[in-house]
Symmetry: none
Subunit: 340 residues, 6 copies
């Protein structure tokens, strides 16, 4: 993974390159993946026309983050409406690769941007919360599957494995992603740091104030730019459903009540907030990233470099894919099949 | 094997597709393979005219399941009548490919159905209990050879290997088969699950009540439709032979005594019995399969997806063909020869 | 693990040994672990006085199975009542080893029975759904932690690893356990079969009718006795809580409404139901197990013996403990600490 | 396997060593393994007192060769008497290692002979037809499990794998075994030849005249001494059972009718019959083997040496044990368990 | 190390225990260790009289944090004044164990508090930045040496090793420490989490605003109480010296200028700021810790429990002491010493 | 090679086909190849007029088997007479293809028989001991060159390679050959078995009694008809030569002494001797082969089918022609030639 020669101008000469980056703080069009893709297109075009070279979307933008859904779940209890809800949710998810991925690759190419897109991926009947990466050349670079879902997500999403922890070495810096509370996993972050991440994308569904502290801490800890993208959703963006639980908004289920407040933010390697957080509306958050800041920050603290202590603390990352069944002959073909 | 693009409507959009499927619960015409093919034709035509898109026949429908035969066998004892009985049984078996296979392909094509046919295959002088697969386009898709025969079957049939464990990705769902007590092999079933089986065909000769429990369990375990097809045979369907052992029918050897009671059944992924079991007569068992049930079922349990534990439990399936002798040069040709 | 010499009378001479076994179909005393232990004591004494040598309790008998609880969980939403509910549930769980475990060992010893007990184990702040094993000599033999929780259980319980998959070779047969839907995991079952399980305990919370099919199938597939133990609980056994979801009982929240209907059952290796299922009351389910049935069943089917096909299908079980952090020096002590 | 330094006088200097060898042509005491061991002891003592250094027993001497048994088997039919018959047969089989193996090792040591003993081994509930090897030092050397049972044996015995194909390099020559119709398997014989077998033991249950041709052919083909040991059994040696099929003796079921006629024989590497065949009575067959004959024979034909053609014909022997389930951690212990 | 039985009330019953804790935000008396100890005594007495059970001092409180010192250092240049400055600094440091350590143990005992004290330790002529731990029973529990100093600290302090990473299991919770930018080391924090830390002490010299984000992030990440203690120092607290470099205060070198602004803070496991930060004065920061918050927080996130992913990410902590010279004959003694 | 569709009546319907076959037990006319061909013609006509469809000649019938010749050879010694003797022997050998081959093809066609002829083939100045195959249609089908000559044959004949191991699928069964002690090579025989040989021709020069045992063993092992053809020669059939060594006949060098005693024999797949052995005279040995015997025999033993164990024992046959010099530009042509 982690592609490309490391002799890019940025890494080599380090004359201060400025890269414009944009976060799209917007809501999924629920139960309508084609419309969601259209919405993505609109924002990518707008960001690119502003000169952005990197566009980052929130977690689960494609497929949707089912905030407040319960899928009829309770311990030891099943429920037909919940099953049906899942079938609909499964239907909105996408295959990777697949036609939607091709469309996104085309969008990245046409608009000449790196694109990081949160999506719900389906592999058979198990869903994964995935970040997809695309290049300005219109290529699908690869994906990261969230390793560990949070609370009720565990009932609807599977767990990723170590085979999809990419960091791509691009001309605008080394690019990777941690999704939502993966940002709370110190060992996962360290794996990204060890791959040299410079443009640390954090597609998330956490719009809390505490989240801002974590983002700022990570920028400093990792010595990298942090780009946190969260959906901004109103009550009316969601389908109508009696099973919802909007804890904090229970009293106010009006159409314009805010269900996901965003808080997308861009922070520099030294902990300077460059843009956002925006807690108030759908829209673009844009900043110019001075890539020279990375080196400046690392003089004092380089988490996997001079400030590591490998004789005492060493992390092992198992990147082997984990599959319950392996077909020994015709391996590549068999693997493709077992993934359908 | 396991063919076709994974972008079929069923897997993609998952608007609830309904597929009509039929099991043929009928007896072989013993020692008369052409007549058996004629009988197959009659039922395929009838099922297709009812709108079925999938027709499944029992184990060994072609060639016959020699229930109660002993082939003169006892430990360490040989017997000329038994040898001769085997010669006749061998004569009723078919080559794959061969003229009977061509005829079945033609029948599937003319009637526009997927066809799963149990047959006794001969490869040299070793017989195999095989399931044959055909497409509505009139193609022979391939075969599955039973891996492990049961008790006395082991004296007349060989063992299949890992090279014939197909699951076909078709527009009506992913199609494969487990024959008779292969259905009791948890590792074999898991191999099928890992290939994504949705239409799990179980040609069998087991007409017991316990079999019903296994079928229901498999539907739930695999999250798939189970179509179990068993022959319904009367005493008079069998050739006359003094060596038979019809344990449960010993007192009643009249012509109309039931020798194989059928019990063919169709079950949904959530364990709902959709059609059958029929323990009383020859005939068709038909049900409409709502393919959306698969996703509904997988919300709670996905045996090779979110509910697997591959870091602890991993199955390896060796799909290499196993041959006692391999001819290195002119491989394909040599293989053909060694198979004659 | 999996202890003891293999020269026990049972395995050796196989003169038909009869073993009496009892399932305790009873409800946890919620939020009161000492009272739950007292209740366990009462039933163990009763079973032993009836001559039972093996007593099996349901899943989560100690600590409780929080049926219908939601812990305030929904996707992406948090809730203070739910957090507090978890704190209480955590308080009812037990350390292993710990004082409750010692008490259970003493009970097994005093009553001269093998005891299999479902319990909620706490390891730090992560809970595990565990089966505990005790010998008539008053020893705690070890434990099995459920590998994969089901739906909302995943939000409150962690996942076990391969280091706790014991099968104990005892004078009354080889003893192990699969908890609830682990019984649907074909690879896990196969691991138990490979260790020679003969007394297959299935502590569960699944009281459905489909469960009965799975139990019968497993008895036949594994060629072992299956002892499925499920709690029988009324509405009034549960603490009062507004967040419950008792899907099927929504209309009838009276105190005597059945919330968990039991269905505990004992089945022989040939699929004969020996006792139960009881869907109507709390109580003991007892049967005499003729251990000679195992050999009789295996003549036709031995799932990891003559009916396996290891050249094609081979399962690997990784029994290494999985820990996020390993302390290299003074290993045992460090491990103890990290487990506190 | 194939143990011991190859610097024994026999292999090295080849001054013509004479070794006395004895075959025990006798019947199992059916359903009484302790009595069978006593009978073995009597013959071993007798052979040793005659100066024999090698004693070879027939196939299945311990546990018994159930000639004529049908275990109630017919294709697709089950039978309770047959199951019970199997349970008894299973009870007569022995664990390897185990107390009976220890007793045999002691017998070999006390009588200062190499001992090759046919036995029915039980591993869980699957039986194997096994040859056991013991040294004059009173050690159990190891075993060979029959790879492929014949006809109805396949319903009661499992298949061995490549991990038990030993040839032991002893001071009296290289010692190995092929059981019954394994002697018809040219690839298996070649594996033994390639390990240098000189004392080719053929415990068998085939007492036919054609068998004599095969033994003579093998002696010449392999350039080795062949020692074929077959039971001599009368009707009265067998338990009474209505299910027997003694084809050729059907008319004459008297107590003194011969059921297995023996034909044990010892042949030199050049095809000279040194002792036997005895088709008439229980007893010892003894010959003096001039080990120098091996070299004399190989001048003209050395099947895996100068007369092989490895650029055209090469055999691969897979000696890996085949297990359906492998436990990765604590490997040796786990393997022991899974073998119980 | 990491002592005490795990059967404390807190872990067991979890009735909500409240513990009062105090941070001492105060300055070293530079170049006067006895006076510094007196100052420590004063604050410990005050905190204890307020009911505190835990008192935490800043990094290097004993020995002093030489903020702004340059020790005459520049690349490739030496300087006699700098050497002399180091001699003075070395003189203020303490031996561990030693008389100052005994005095501190006595203070903890008399005031019945757990005490965590930042100190400069001397081991020969190498200095270490160390945290010392004391119990209410008047015992010195042990120490943690900072693993990796920051920038110019590396010229005056050595690096700790893995043998001093204690977490003490106490009746008021599990207690450990990370010093200054060790708090930025994700692998070090994870080692503490794995030992179950609940009272995470962070003696520091970082008084920045970004530090607050890191503390809040750690509380959430670790699910633990964070107690960050930083000195509050004015210009006049420091000895007079021409080589100082007070970057941000260059214009204002008056006596009352703030040189270290404190910012000590106490945060709950769910990210709630319980006391502080105080950026304005020397003094005590006190809060009541509701230990039940730990369980409430872990429901959603348990960094080394249910939210770890050990099959992918595994950290190894080498706790062996690292010594340049090991005397082989005294191994056990050497290990004991490194633990003191 | 090994031609023809597999849809022949014999393999298909298996109504019991009877085929008459004849072995020609006769001597070469030494040093007179045209006369030898005339003699061949006489016997072929006779066999065909008796209804034979298959005629098999002995090893080296054309060119002669130089029994007792020494070609003046001794270790390290050369001899002009021997050279000259070889020149004469080379002159009697034939090219393949060539005029003698055409003549033989014509004979087969005219007499409507399959013909297997032993011949000495010359390829440049290296001779090969070859079996030639001809069809009733008058075609030369191909050849088999003996892989490994025996003792002194190695000084006058070369070694064949894997490119000439044909088995022809003919309407009267699958036809192939093993020459003389190739019949002792278990791997070579297995290659023939794997190609499905049913009519196993064994042209030989071995007239010993032990040979009969090998032939009978092979019939059983291979489940095929064995047709062993050996010359019957008197002293007077040989040219006069002082260098002869007729070991066993040294005392009796009279003209009528038997030098090669024949022993030609035909054996069925179940080991029944159908005709011969004739040890007394030149002449035809004829039998009717009931091809149904093959299936009857395979019920119990199918050496490369159900009785093989390919997961343990697998043979590789390298069929590439072995040539010391390969001309790259003419690859296809070279291969074609080697097959003629």
């Amino acid at each position: 993974m982690s592609t490309v020669e490391n002799t890019t101008p940025f890494n080599g000469v380090a004359s201060s390159t400025i890269v414009r980056a944009t976060i799209v703080q917007a809501s999924t069009v629920y139960n309508d993946t084609p419309a969601t893709l259209e919405k993505a297109k609109k924002y990518i075009v707008e960001a690119a026309s502003n000169g952005s070279k990197l566009v980052v979307f929130p977690e689960a933008f494609i497929g949707g983050y089912p905030r407040g859904f319960r899928f009829g779940l309770a311990v030891g209890v099943f429920n037909e409406e919940g099953r049906d809800e899942f079938r609909k949710y499964h239907a909105s998810a996408i295959h990777v690769p697949g036609p939607e991925v091709e469309k996104l690759a085309e969008l990245a190419g046409k608009n000449n941007v790196y694109l990081v897109m949160g999506a719900i991926e389906k592999d058979g009947y198990t869903l994964y919360c995935t970040a997809l990466f695309f290049s300005p050349q219109g290529q699908f670079l690869g994906k990261h599957r969230k390793l560990m879902p949070t609370t009720l997500e565990r009932c609807i999403w599977g767990q990723g494995d170590g085979s999809t922890i990419p960091v791509y070495d691009t001309p605008i810096g080394k690019l990777g992603a941690a999704i939502c509370w993966e940002n709370r996993m110190p060992l996962y972050r360290t794996a990204l740091y060890a791959k040299g991440i410079e443009l640390y994308c954090a597609p998330t569904a956490d719009g809390s104030k505490e989240w801002q502290s974590s983002m700022l801490h990570i920028a400093i800890e990792g010595g990298c730019f942090v780009l946190s993208a969260c959906q901004f959703c109103l009550r009316k963006d969601f389908p109508d459903h009696p099973d919802y639980l909007f804890t904090d908004w229970d009293d106010n289920k009006e159409h314009d009540a805010i269900v996901s407040q965003g808080g997308s933010v861009i922070i520099s390697p030294m902990g300077q907030v460059l843009a956002g957080p925006n807690f108030e509306s759908e829209g673009l958050i844009t900043a110019d990233l001075d890539l020279g800041e990375v080196a400046r920050a690392k003089l004092y603290f380089d988490v996997v470099g001079h400030y590591s202590k490998p004789d005492v603390l060493s992390l092992t990352v198992n990147e082997h894919p984990k599959k319950p069944v392996t077909f020994v002959s015709k391996v590549e073909k068999a693997e493709d099949e077992s993934n359908k």
